[in-house]
Symmetry: C4
Subunit: 251 residues, 4 copies
């Protein structure tokens, strides 16, 4: 199988921007993407399975099963001010470096074929303290984008950006795409709605999206439920770092 | 080599159901499949080897050798009430996630080509206590199947279903196949004939199979013998969980 | 690269038998193969490199370098009594299960194309005691061969046969080849000339080879030198088992 | 993706020699290659990405991002005395044995297509003491080269040469290329300008390159900065050996 994209629809989009929202530190991207999908009533158009995902099924309510999967949604801006979006959502990243590169390439194949030139990846930046107002940090693959983001209150990140959030920016650059990574401070060991709100708020301003952020707690709650069904609920707080090292991305 | 199917015969079957019976917790599936094969005199029609299986040979009685392998058997129902079966049996699962996905896909290729639309995977659900009457649990990929199974005394599983038992249901769903996973409670650290009897009894009722379950102990004994020849005999009880984590599926 | 065979010559052989002599427990196979090659003046006709071998160079005398490699030699019997041979020699096995399967398949491709139907793999059987007269053990993929070997003093092995010694017999069987594995008792933590002599003596009788076994110590010494250049010299005795588990086959 | 070469230019070179300069012990090769590139104003003509590199992005100054990458530069000798060069530079080696072989093969494909027949790989030879005047050591794949190098003060290495420094010599030999590996003594736990100077000085004499070695400290400083941005700065001195074993090549 390796990494397979099953496409349900090929949407016609105008200069869409890819927003990455896979599980990671504080589930900041995951919550944000879920909220965008729900608020914008985005449309699922493709699913990605990979043999680098976990090899198990997860039981959902009423005995049904869910599986490690990534999904692509699209949203067409309601007017000329709103950007068209492609949203990458899922319950896992790949378990190996090799799998991550492959997953990233398949997703870039899809979004490139839809005319996407801009990538925004989201995430959490772990801080070992309580976070009242999460600071925002950014990194870019195109220096022209820095000023705009810095002008809106984000600072420059120092360090590595692991996972698809980093890879999409890096491999996208090879295809001539402009990449922006936005991280919000988070303790990181629970689905952090506050951090998600911070990044989403900036994303909305950058992309002229009009989204109600009041119900972010709903997405955070849903993310926590998925997390628990995947069996990492209570033990999750043992440490993202350890999880990271053992590459158990799956929420 | 990767993963190769060697086909001896292409049986003509009528709406067959795939029954998965690979080694796993309590060897519930393994014993059940072996018993089905023996009682129904099912016919071996394909063998699967994979470079994700262990790289060793195992000596059998009289100096002969056996090897890590999966096998596919078929059974044609004796009358219009009995379902045609494809039985997946073997002495191992793949050692890597990647190998598991690939193995699963190869097997689904074969059974799909034979008209199979239904998958029943079996297994044990570990409980840390003595089990007198093993409870039965289920998960499905098609909600229409839940009621029928629940009506026969099974409960809904919460948690993950590892290995081919989970993957076949998940990847089968992508091909439009209906999947049912049945697990019986078991302490899990020995080939558990009692748990196998519990799942087999329900499988027989669901598929209208008439099978004598008296001799299940024979299949459990044979499974234990294979287990010992593979060198995991006495050390096996150290813990299935550890085995699971190190992906030494081989019985 | 994966696994590549570079062929220097395609010998014309009559019903040749493949003799496996890669590094393993006690280097029994390795010493034996080297001795056969030297005594019979066997001809190198193919080299095998694999990206599953170690990624390093090893310095040899006078600043030259050697590399992880497998080699195939042939020997044409001097008269109608002596069997033609293909000898597999090398300084490593593959580091991963996947690599082992692939290596095995490439080698079987070559020897099958040369008309080979018989495989003899050699090895050591670890015993935790001093060995005066090494006992001989066997396993076969073809029951017809058992009696002949047992009649010459070998016993039947119980347990697993790891590595190419087991895989060649197993995967060869899939191609209709007859396989015999011969192991000699050895403490296992040094290149064991005594054990090599025991298996070679039986191999010579089985295949009607006339070989002087007096100089086996020379091959054992050469094997020990290679071993030391590969940096596992003095630490090697820490335990073959640990080496085995971490798959550092390289001598 | 696996391993992809993106070529910007196909230079016309006369009998060029490949100089390897990837991260390794003491960053001897890395500093040397960077210095050569800067002093000779060598031209970047190809980039190599691999899914066996780390899956992250690294933030650089001003919020921009850099990524795990290898680069190929060329330099055309200023007169008939100076050799044309191809310089392999990068911030990482592959994380797996498999990836290393593949990376090596892709690079050899490129340089072979440019008429390269000679390979010089550089590196550090760890010594557990302060090094005042680094001793030089060599290994070759072609015995004709030994005398020339020994005559210039280098000694013969005993032991393994890990990574691309060893592999390029080994796999290059399979393609008929002559390989030389030069190592300088170094404590190894920091970017060692002194060791780099020692190997570069010999390389320049061997290849008739006229290069000012005064500014080597600049390249060492730049290497240290990259190192720190990759997050291994202060913890790096914990031990190259451990790093080596866990295959975190990335500087």
């Amino acid at each position: 199988m390796v990494c397979i994209v099953k496409t349900y629809e090929k949407p016609v989009l105008s200069n869409p921007v890819l927003i990455e929202g896979l599980p990671g530190i504080g589930f900041v991207a995951n919550i944000s993407a879920l909220h965008l999908i729900q608020e914008l009533k985005a449309t699922l158009f493709a699913e990605v399975r990979s043999s680098s995902f976990q090899d198990f099924a997860v039981t959902a309510e009423k005995g049904q099963t869910s599986f490690p999967i990534n999904e692509l949604y699209y949203y067409k801006g309601r007017d000329s001010h709103e950007r068209d979006l492609i949203i990458l959502y899922g319950n896992t990243q790949a378990l190996t470096t090799f799998g991550q590169y492959e997953l990233c390439d398949r997703i870039l194949d899809v979004v490139e074929s839809l005319g996407c030139n801009d990538i925004v990846t989201l995430g959490g930046l772990r801080v070992d303290r309580k976070v009242d107002v999460p600071g925002l940090y950014c990194a870019v693959s195109d220096s022209a984008m820095v000023d705009e983001v810095l002008g809106r209150g984000a600072k420059i990140i120092g360090g590595q950006i692991f996972g698809l959030a980093g890879l999409l920016v890096g491999l996208g650059k090879l295809r001539g795409m402009k990449g922006l990574c936005l991280l919000a401070e988070t303790p990181g060991y629970y689905p952090d709605a506050k951090a998600a709100r911070a990044v989403l708020d900036l994303v909305c301003r950058l992309l002229n999206l009009r989204i109600d952020l009041e119900r972010l707690d709903v997405a955070a709650k849903a993310t926590r439920d998925i997390l628990e069904s995947f069996g990492v609920g209570s033990t999750y707080s043992v440490g993202e770092r350890k999880r990271r090292e053992s590459r158990h991305w799956l929420i």
